[in-house]
Symmetry: C2
Subunit: 218 residues, 2 copies
């Protein structure tokens, strides 16, 4: 049963390597194949194993990303509840407010440089809404990375994948891209000037406006 889980978490099964065949495992644990399969599917649901049909299960050392993946199903359900989207979006705003404040206070030259590059890519994509969407995500992604804590990039991945369905419905236009770009620039400038309050204010305004764009399509 969960002895299998132990074998994985203990690490005596290497990462990215296929699991032993089910028939070997049932012999090793002295149990039936039914039990082995249930254990495997349980581990797969928790993200410790990657399961492709007809292929040997692959051991995945869990990282903060698998955490996000594992929660996907439930989050998607919660988003369908009253104010589910709002609660999540509000959480995102909360996080990013803290992130930009910290960025303004602590960002290194490299971080600033990354941010500038993301901003440039953002600017270059204004005419192409498809591409702009991605550079938009990337710009915010840099903010999450500046924290230096791997938890935050994972959260960013979660936010984007969970909220993008709503986001994707948004009507796009070059003017809106420009609006977003200038908002990003304002955030960048505030960080450059080491002004956390201004950075936070700029971010709040940015996400408020963006939320308005999304809401408009209900």
């Amino acid at each position: 049963m969960s002895a299998l889980e132990a074998r994985i978490t203990r690490g005596d099964l290497e990462n990215d390597k296929p699991l032993p065949p089910e028939r070997d495992l049932m012999e090793e644990f002295g149990t039936s194949r039914t039990v082995v399969r249930e254990a495997i599917s349980a581990l797969a649901n928790r993200g410790l194993i990657e399961l492709r049909p007809r292929f040997r299960p692959i051991v995945r050392k869990p990282d903060y990303g698998t955490l996000i993946n594992a929660t996907g199903t439930i989050v998607r359900y919660l988003l369908n509840e009253p104010s589910g989207v709002q609660n999540l979006y509000q959480s995102r705003v909360f996080i990013e407010r803290g992130l930009v404040r910290d960025a303004a206070l602590n960002a290194t030259k490299e971080h600033i440089s990354d941010l500038k590059a993301a901003l440039l890519a953002n600017s270059n994509a204004i005419m192409n809404s498809e591409e702009f969407f991605q550079t938009d995500i990337d710009f915010h992604g840099v903010l999450y990375r500046i924290s230096g804590n791997p938890v935050f990039p994972a959260m960013h991945k979660g936010f984007t994948s969970w909220l993008s369905p709503n986001w994707a419905r948004m009507r796009r236009s070059i003017e809106r891209n420009e609006t977003v770009y200038f908002a990003h620039k304002e955030i960048y400038d505030a960080i450059l000037e080491r002004d956390p309050a201004r950075a936070e204010a700029a971010l709040i305004e940015h996400l408020r406006v963006a939320w308005g764009f999304v809401e408009e399509t209900f």
Copy 2:
């Protein structure tokens, strides 16, 4: 397979009610019991179903708390990795910094009253380290509730359950309880005075000191 999941998320299976027997489900979906069982265990692993041995599975409408429960296994693994605990604790500090800032800015009279009550309970428990531990958690819990966003209390539950193993090892004493209490009071006072910067500073110092208490026992 996932048609079962649909039946639950669609809500035509009531919350807190037992699932139909496996043998009925296999008839309903025209599949074997093995498949039904795998589907059920999959849902259980995601927290949509509560599974007690020998009892009928109980449908659980997922909330933000089940999200935390579902991630427990993976988080516990991540905590065993290098700087896993540090990453999580740092995330907690980050969140609470934002929370106390917002509390200082937006807390209502009721919130302040709740906080005051939590502080009082904290004070009353100084002589009893066991009880103090709980009131300590509760005090921070109020901070999470003030946000008004159900995501945050769930995060609080996660932080406490994930970090408490480390926390529990901490050597306790009345002096330390007093130190913690005064730190809480400082945070409370700053919120009362609507001073976000001071509240944040007090919280940072508080959690820095507390971390030191924990680290001391490595």
